[in-house]
């Protein structure tokens, strides 16, 4: 099976044997190095010509290799550019890497191949200073225009204390403010058409409809949207940079804050990558506990979306009911984890603690309570005719468009494609659970809502199965790299004791290698690509979040609608700014 999925032979036949060098990655994703001149051709071939093509540009990023503890024969010593493609027909990823020469290399842009390459390339330009030839708007994406340096380069300081005290002089303030001024001509936008002048409306970064520090500039003809320019980066905290100076263990709480509504889902995405690197197999109980908590957080996240979506459309009350229900989930989360929104509860090789006594009653109460509420919400929100009038037929995209723009999760399923990574590439034992993947067919705002509402029911089904069949056993793996290790496993001899001591004081040393995880997070496919060079902290962690490509699609799907519709579109997108900016 694996052999037929591997496109290496085909690629070699087409482009010549010497073009590609394979690299073994810990996650068994086909990883190929290729020369810079060939990259566009190969990508084009993989997207358009190969059988069962790789139609989704899943991720595009770069690695600063200059201080890496390289294995012998590692082909890159400056920068590496990295493409993750995904083929739905093969249900598999491919990773392409190109070694780049020089301090500030240049790469051909692939924006004409994939629409969603635009922001990814801008991000790489912003973070690494790698230029993309042929990119329509190669500007900084996350950092302010006036920023000095490129944060993810190794020479860029990671802490404010390394940069000297911050001062804001008047001139500097003026300079920063004028840098934020929107100039339509820079974006190739017209200020008027033949028969009307356009109005440029600045929405955000402080606006009740944007749910976070998002700025959108709308080009309006009356109230009709001609074009939109999202401006992101206000919530950027450098989550990827932080990973490079945290230990493998102490990075876990930072992941909580990436999609801050998704809670432990983030922990899981990161830890799956780390556990692949370390080669840890989890005991069954740990997996089931993880699944249960992930599904609780999925419901919690969808509840927040449900309420705020209704509120965006002008319905004031549902958000209160839904937050009350979310509070019920948080009661359980607090009983189990101690935390609420940021539980920081999964650990390398398991979870922090076993479930508390009496957890089953709490969970059972919720299972009995919640379906009635969902029914009530259906009547209140989903069946409301004004709600329907505001969402049906608004912000439509098709399955092909969704894939072109990198949409995953409920947005993709609302186009009638039952793609759910929990089913298609089961992790953490999701294959043992019985649940359906809800889909809808029109790909409009209403259908996205339908999918999410049904997902809550399915999550509840999964939770119910966890509650019924919770296996006995350990909540952490018996593996030297489990952090922190279970005490009883450490008291056997001097070796286990030393490993424990080092694991707790320095943090675990994860064997060198690269691994990527991909989970179905609350908002779509979330993936962590972790690189270890055999140290106590990651060499590089790439966080691929679902909201990033979703937001990139906003101008495309909101053109021609009105300002009020844009709020429906944003609401139905279900994004979190921290998830976009990281």
């Amino acid at each position: 099976m694996e052999a037929t999925l591997d496109p290496t032979e085909k690629l070699k036949q087409r482009f010549g044997n010497e073009t590609f060098t394979s690299q073994r990655a810990k996650d068994d994703i086909v990883t190929l190095w290729l020369p810079l001149e060939k990259i566009k051709e190969v990508l084009w071939y993989l997207k358009n010509e190969i059988d069962r093509p790789y139609i989704l540009l899943f991720d595009l990023s770069a690695i600063d290799e200059r201080s890496r503890n390289r294995e012998y024969g590692y082909p890159s010593d400056n920068f590496t550019i990295l493409y993750h493609l995904f083929s739905f027909d093969r249900n598999s990823f491919i990773r392409l890497k190109v070694a780049l020469k020089g301090e500030f290399p240049t790469v051909p842009s692939i924006t004409n191949l994939w629409a969603n390459a635009n922001w990814y390339e801008r991000e790489v330009f912003d973070m690494f200073g790698i230029r993309f030839e042929g990119h329509p708007h190669l500007k900084r994406l996350l950092m302010p225009e006036s920023w000095q340096g490129n944060p993810l380069r190794k020479e860029h300081p990671a802490r404010a204390t390394e940069m000297g005290p911050f001062r804001l002089f008047d001139e500097k303030q003026d300079r920063e403010q004028s840098a934020l001024q929107f100039r339509p001509e820079e974006w190739g936008l017209q200020t008027s058409s033949d028969d009307s002048d356009f109005m440029f409306l600045n929405i955000g970064p402080q606006h009740p409809g944007t749910h976070g520090v998002l700025r959108i500039i709308l080009q309006l003809d009356g109230e009709d949207i001609v074009d939109a320019v999202p401006d992101i980066g206000f919530h950027h905290r450098g989550a990827e940079k932080m990973a490079e100076r945290q230990s493998w263990h102490t990075y876990i709480p930072y992941t909580d804050r990436v999609d801050y509504l998704g809670g432990v889902n983030n922990n899981l995405a990161y830890l799956l990558a780390v556990e692949k690197l370390a080669g840890i197999e989890l005991p069954e109980r740990a997996n089931v506990i993880r699944v249960m908590m992930c599904e609780f957080f999925r419901i919690a996240s969808h509840l927040v979306w449900y309420g705020t979506f209704a509120q965006d459309i002008g319905q004031l009350s549902p958000v209160f009911y839904m937050f009350n229900d979310r509070e019920k989930i948080f009661d359980i989360v607090a009983a189990v984890c101690g935390g609420r929104m940021h539980p920081n509860w999964f650990r390398i090789g398991g979870v922090a603690q076993d479930l508390p006594r009496g957890w089953d009653k709490l969970v059972k109460d919720f299972i009995d309570y919640f379906p009635k509420r969902l029914k009530e919400y259906d009547a209140m929100v989903m069946k409301n005719s004004i709600f329907k009038a505001r969402t049906v037929g608004i912000g439509i995209f098709t399955k092909a468009e969704a894939i072109e723009w990198g949409v995953t999760g409920p947005g993709l399923r609302a186009c009638g494609y039952d793609w759910d990574f929990r089913k298609k590439q089961p992790y953490s034992g999701y294959d043992k659970f019985d649940f359906d993947v809800p889909i809808a067919h029109n790909g409009d705002c209403y259908d996205r809502a339908v999918v999410r509402v049904e997902e809550m029911r399915q999550s509840l089904r999964i939770i119910e199965q966890c509650w019924k069949y919770m296996p006995e056993g350990d909540y952490k793996a018996d593996h030297p790299l489990t952090t922190p290790p279970v005490k009883k496993h450490t008291m056997q001899d001097i070796e286990t004791l030393i490993t424990h001591f080092l694991g707790v004081s320095w943090g675990p040393v994860i064997p060198a290698g690269e691994a990527m995880s991909c989970i179905e997070a609350t908002k779509g496919a979330n993936s962590y690509y972790a690189i270890s060079d055999g140290n106590t902290s990651p060499y590089r962690v790439r966080v691929r979040t679902p909201s990033f490509p979703h937001m990139q699609m906003l101008p495309y799907i909101s053109k021609g609608y009105t300002v009020a519709d844009m709020l429906s579109i944003l609401g139905a997108m279900d994004y979190v700014l921290a998830d976009i900016d990281r």
Binding site: M199, L201, N202, H207, P208, G209, E223, A310, Q311, D312, I313, G314, Q315, L316, S317, F320, Y321, N324, M380, N384, I386, F387, A389, R390, T562, V563, A564, D565, L567
Partner: protein, 307 residues
Amino acid sequence: MGGLLLIAPGLIWLERRLLAVWQDRYGPNRAGPLGVLVVLADTLKLFFKEDWIPPFADKKVFVLAPAIVVITVLMSFVIVPFSPGFIVVDLNIGLLFFLAMSSMGAYSIILGGWASNNKYSLLGAMRGAAQMISYEVFMGLSLMGVVLITGSFSLHDIVEAQRNMWFVVPQFLGFVIFLIAGIAETHRLPFDIPEAESELIAGFHSEYSGMKFGMFFVGEYIGIMLISCMVTCLFFGGWLGPAFLPPIVWFVLKMFAFIALFILLRASLPRPRYDQLMEFGWKILLPLSLLNVMITAGIILWNENPL
């Protein structure tokens, strides 16, 4: 009039408490018994706030706009008969006066939004102007049935004409249209499109603060009261009711029932889009209200001289 200005803040408290009840929360419950004093605190706060006029605003118009809304709404109360004899002036063109005043109210939105010199306010003002002017039409037409039956524009006469049967029965369609148009006139949720908090951030009064904002705020609540009073007078027999309660009590009870309805609507309905509201108005309400006038007139003519 002083009484009205006192009731308006009371309404703010009532609305906040009722909304809280319907939304599973407490609402203001700390200041004074049941939190009634919270309104006092809010008012004091508004009074002591800096009277800020944005430097880019058109100053005279900016100051004038909030005054208009309060003045026009208060003026309309002149013709409301709270009970027999308790009325400021019983104009024989009472209803027309009410319609004229509520049309004038549209100016406050247009001027306020225009003078603020802010894009959100402008969008809000534009929506507000279109909405109020269109709904004005149906509001007037929906009342014509009542006027036809009574044969008078005087509210006193209209109430008296309901001794046998409240007009809500023969004029049910008129009542529904008037209620919808009334909500649109007061731009309350679900028709708060000129303000649309999640889109336009308070729309036409984004730039207002302090007591000038307070005027818009109070104006809105007196507006709700006005529409409730009008519904009561026109369709629910005004002060009429069984004799065990004095007429004024009946009036107030009915009025508060409608105010509560307004608040309930706010708690439960989402907001349609601006063009949908317009479409609903011109394509559904207008033909319906015309139909209502025609049928009413036809029946009256039939009754006067049957063939």
